[in-house]
């Protein structure tokens, strides 16, 4: 009797396991909705700076990236876009990429957003972005003078 029961339980278990695969996952209504982690990441990556001239802000961004040893790959002024990359010395095989966008926010303010990747993996450490904005702040200050 006990034996039979155990067999049934085992059968039910395996059946349950297979059942899961049969029900197609229903896309929820918030499939493309921003998650809390995304919003947090965006806030790390963006900072508002006091600047009136978008072109000057762009040049400040380029100078900051160059100071950090980045190689500018693409720069598009009308779009406010700069893409750059560098090898994470002394590891010559590791590559770090960054995209910076500059947008006018309100009168006299520019919203600057940076997305950095390390060996094709996004960097999510807020400290890295803080470092970047500290350098950028200095560079924008010098450009303004």
């Amino acid at each position: 009797m006990e034996h039979k029961q155990a067999v049934w339980i085992a059968l039910l278990f395996t059946g349950g396991l297979f059942l899961q695969a049969c029900a197609p996952p229903q896309p929820g209504p918030n499939l493309l909705a921003p998650t809390a982690a995304q919003m947090k990441l965006r806030s790390y990556q963006s900072r508002s700076f006091e600047a009136t001239d978008p072109s000057q802000a762009m040049r400040g961004v380029v100078a900051a990236l160059q100071d950090l040893g980045f190689i500018i790959e693409r720069a598009n002024e009308p779009m406010g876009l700069v893409t750059a990359a560098r090898f994470a010395e002394p590891n010559y095989t590791d590559v770090m990429g960054i995209t910076v966008t500059v947008r006018s926010q309100t009168e006299g303010h520019m919203m600057i957003r940076a997305n950095a990747i390390y060996n094709n993996k996004p960097i999510e450490d807020p400290k890295v972005y803080q470092n970047f904005f500290a350098t950028l702040e200095r560079s924008l200050f010098i450009t303004k003078e």
Partner: protein
């Protein structure tokens, strides 16, 4: 066999350096000001167009081809591809092979791409002074090799910044002659 493995390990050892800590990423390195001084020259001119086209001409004189240019940003990128073969590396490869009794074939550099990125920008309000910053770097592709039974496929890339001050001095010397202006250091 053991020797081969040891040698291979030694050769591959520089790949095992600890990865850069995230906190250090995007932080100014101590050498950055030194690099700045090497890469930047200031020209007393208000004509950014002329400065850029003269820079493009000098890069062409150095055998590079302009790949990308954005006038509004004063941006130029140029490259040239050349062979990266060095006899020294072939000797090392031969002796390493001999020492490891044929178990280790060191990959040698085959091909390289030398590139320059140049940015010209005004540095004062009325735009009478411009700075030109240039950075040279190279990407090297390696040939194939072997460590014990493990075949090392060709095509591994290695990249490095070119930090030889002479190359930068030569570029700026040519540029200042081309625009008839003196190049000031920062």
């Amino acid at each position: 066999m053991v020797w081969g493995t040891l040698l291979a390990l030694l050769a591959l050892n520089n790949g095992c350096t600890t990865p850069t800590q995230p906190a250090e990423l995007l932080q100014l390195s101590p050498e950055s000001s030194q690099n700045r001084a090497m890469q930047i020259r200031i020209f007393e001119t208000s004509n950014e167009n002329e400065l850029l086209s003269a820079s493009a001409a000098v890069l062409q004189d150095l055998g590079l081809q302009i790949e990308e240019s954005v006038r509004q940003m004063g941006f130029l990128r140029a490259t040239k591809e050349r062979s990266a073969r060095e006899y020294g590396q072939d000797f090392t490869r031969f002796f390493m092979g001999l020492l490891s009794l044929g178990n280790f074939r060191m990959p040698v550099d085959l091909h390289q791409k030398i590139a320059a990125v140049l940015i010209a920008r005004p540095i004062n309000q009325d735009g009478t002074k411009h700075e030109v910053r240039i950075m040279f770097y190279r990407v090297v592709w390696q040939g194939d090799g072997q460590a014990d039974r493990q075949y090392i496929p060709p095509g591994e890339q290695k990249m490095e910044m070119i930090r030889d001050p002479l190359i930068y001095q030569e570029f700026f010397f040519k540029l200042s002659k081309a625009v008839f202006l003196e190049a000031f250091t920062i």
